[in-house]
């Protein structure tokens, strides 16, 4: 049994409060030949500067930035080392210092965390965080292979050369232990792809039935194609500020808390360990559970997500996640990764994850809706941008601007699409607090971010 050092469990404390004031993104597509990568990042950055009701002009804000953090998953895809320098120059931000951040699928969340640290430390009072991925230089199966090199190249990559084959064993294990049916997983795909139909930027919107999901082509049993995210080209950006700058720029800033956790690259190396308890959980609560599942987190759960939530809830003073969060954006790269995370972040106790779906809590109008943006399944997974874009979607919900950014004809036009007649608002009514999970590998790096209305 692995236990944690006292010092390791210290809760992070910002030296200065951190705020998010603006966000932007591109449309997301499988193949995006119209624009070069730096042109896509400019599109997201300009949207962030121009469309967030900021009280300074775009060029005044440009003159206020001191630091930039960039998220990119894989040099393989871009085929360009030091992409950050190329983008930073293209955005006209030299000679400000910038860094590139890489933590697999959690790259976006990690980039936000690093930007927040720059603000909290006082290095900057206005910081750009932008991310991108251009996965369309190679065909899909080559892309699958590239991504599978984010499994262990010595012991795992050759066993599948596709990431679904590293999630599928977890799905089969989860099904056996917690009675998770194919139908519940399919419901998540149906929900998120449906929500994506309201998002002009979505890559894979669609009205599907559970049967269609289950009859779609098998990737790695039991995960079907419609349960897997696709490869995307696109970008997203957010602006982080300290308190003074936040209110100078915006009448609707949100406060940011974010923390991360990690675990082995190979899920198979995970030895049994203590469950770090969330604020709403009681010592001894999992005694019976651990008798039945002595290998926690095993193949069922993610220690990295649990650890990140353990820290983030304490940073933000969240006592009861399900009661206090008005919406969440989860890393639904696969339906199963979505389900696994419900226990980790305390939307349900471990072992009762399925109930978050079956109770209706996860739907718009439910207690704590998940992935109203369309998620990774429906909208995008331009990996380096993903954890930033999820934050942007949460920000716009908290500012009650969902309808503008998803319903205004100009965004449908920008994406080259027609707004569907069936479009309806997924704005959550007067939300106060949102959470997003940015997740890498089979749970190698996870950040949990919390955004709270601050006006």
């Amino acid at each position: 049994m692995i236990t944690f050092g006292k010092g390791n469990l210290r809760v992070p404390k910002w030296s200065k409060r951190v705020f998010m004031v603006a966000g932007g993104c591109t449309p997301f597509r499988k193949y995006f030949p119209e624009y070069k990568l730096e042109e896509l990042v400019m599109m997201a950055y300009k949207m962030m500067l121009e469309e967030n009701q900021l009280k300074l002009s775009p060029l005044e804000i440009k003159d206020s930035i001191q630091f930039a953090v960039y998220g990119e998953f894989a040099d393989h895809f871009q085929d360009q080392l030091l992409c950050e320098a190329k983008i930073h120059d293209y955005l006209g931000l030299d000679p400000l210092f910038n860094v590139g951040i890489k933590t697999g699928g959690a790259t976006g969340g990690s980039a936000v965390l690093m930007g927040a640290q720059a603000i909290a430390s006082g290095y900057a009072n206005c910081c750009l965080v932008a991310g991108w991925e251009r996965m369309d230089e190679v065909d899909t199966r080559t892309g699958n292979f590239y991504i599978s090199t984010a499994a262990c190249k010595d012991f795992e990559t050759r066993m599948g050369r596709i990431y679904s084959s590293y999630y599928a064993p977890m799905a089969n294990r989860f099904a056996q232990i917690y009675n998770l049916s194919d139908e519940v997983r399919a419901k998540i795909a149906v929900k998120n792809r449906h929500y994506a139909t309201m998002n002009p930027n979505a890559q894979q919107p669609g009205e599907h039935t559970i049967e269609e999901v289950l009859e779609s082509r098998m990737s790695a049993y039991p995960l079907r194609f419609l349960e897997c995210c696709a490869m995307t080209a696109g970008s997203a950006a957010v602006l982080l500020c300290d308190e003074e700058m936040a209110y100078k720029l915006s009448d609707h800033p949100v406060e940011l808390f974010i923390a991360g956790g990690s675990h082995t690259l190979r899920v198979a190396d995970r030895r049994p360990m203590d469950i770090p308890l969330l604020p709403n959980e009681k010592p001894g609560q999992y005694d019976a559970f651990l008798k039945e599942n002595p290998r926690w987190p095993g193949f069922e759960s993610f220690l990295a997500a649990r650890f990140a939530a353990y820290l983030a809830y304490r940073m933000a003073g969240v006592k009861d996640p399900l009661e206090e969060l008005d919406l969440v954006e989860l890393h639904d790269a696969f339906t199963i990764s979505d389900v696994q995370t419900y226990g980790d972040i305390g939307l349900r106790p471990y072992g009762q994850e399925i109930d978050y779906v079956e109770s209706g809590d996860c739907y718009h109008g439910g207690k704590c809706p998940a992935n109203l943006s369309g998620g990774l399944l429906g909208t995008m997974h331009a990996v380096g941008a993903t954890g930033i874009w999820q934050a942007v979607e949460c920000l716009w919900q908290l500012q009650s601007r969902y309808d503008y950014f998803h319903g205004d004809a100009k965004w449908w036009k920008r994406a080259g699409k027609k707004k569907p007649r069936s479009w309806k608002s997924l704005q959550v009514k007067d939300p106060r607090q949102a959470l997003w999970v940015s997740h890498a590998g089979v749970g190698s790096h996870v950040t949990v971010g919390i955004l709270r209305k601050a006006w």
């Binding site: 692995i2 030949p33 119209e34 624009y35 085929d79 230089e137 065909d139 199966r141 080559t142 892309g143 699958n144 292979f145 590239y146 991504i147 599978s148 262990c152 190249k153 010595d154 012991f155 795992e156 050759r158 066993m159 599948g160 050369r161 596709i162 679904s164 084959s165 599928a168 064993p169 977890m170 799905a171 089969n172 294990r173 056996q176 082509r217 098998m218 990737s219 790695a220 049993y221 039991p222 995960l223 194609f225 190979r266 899920v267 198979a268 190396d269 995970r270 030895r271 193949f299």
Partner: protein, 168 residues
């Protein structure tokens, strides 16, 4: 004395291979070939990969009496993450039980097995971790006993030099 290159006027000619257009509808997209070879070391794990070609499943074990865990690792690792001591090689049983599994139906480019095939994760007695592999015959279930088979002739010098078959 012959002039050095940097002392000469030079006439340059193109020796590359022109790129072909892949798409020209919305923007020019060019075909940009990449062909690479890396020289990858197995480092201190060489005994493991060599062991496979000799029909042995080799794990590492921490034998430091002061180590809080003294775990046995397969996949092996040379250094103990709990106490930072160098670990010891041990031969572990070439049999175990299926912990979980999947059928790989659609695989990425370069896959070396004919799809579909069963990928399995094997629990081995005395080993603290779980070991990924593939089941060369039969249909897996959680808890199924399996035994390892080794590619001792014409080895691939990769993890594919070991696979599993039913043991019941």
């Amino acid at each position: 004395m012959a002039k050095k290159a940097y002392e000469k006027a030079i006439k340059t000619r193109y020796t590359g291979k022109p790129l072909k257009l892949y798409d020209e509808k919305k923007a020019w997209v060019v075909r940009w070939p990449r062909a690479l070879e890396h020289h990858h070391t197995y480092g201190l794990l060489t005994p493991f990969f060599k062991g496979l070609t000799q029909g042995r499943l080799m794990a590492t074990r921490c034998v430091n009496p002061k180590c809080p865990q003294q775990s046995t690792w397969l996949p092996p690792r040379a250094d103990c993450p709990d106490c930072y001591e160098r670990m010891k090689w041990v031969r572990v049983p070439a049999k175990g039980k299926i912990y979980t599994y999947t059928l790989v139906d659609y695989a990425g480019v370069g896959i070396e097995m004919k799809t579909p095939y069963w990928q399995i994760d094997v629990e081995i007695k005395g080993v603290d971790t779980i070991f990924k592999g593939f089941l060369a015959e039969g249909k897996p279930y959680i808890g199924m006993p399996v035994k390892a088979v080794f590619r001792t002739k014409n080895p691939t010098h990769t993890i594919l030099d070991v696979w599993w078959t039913p043991d019941e």
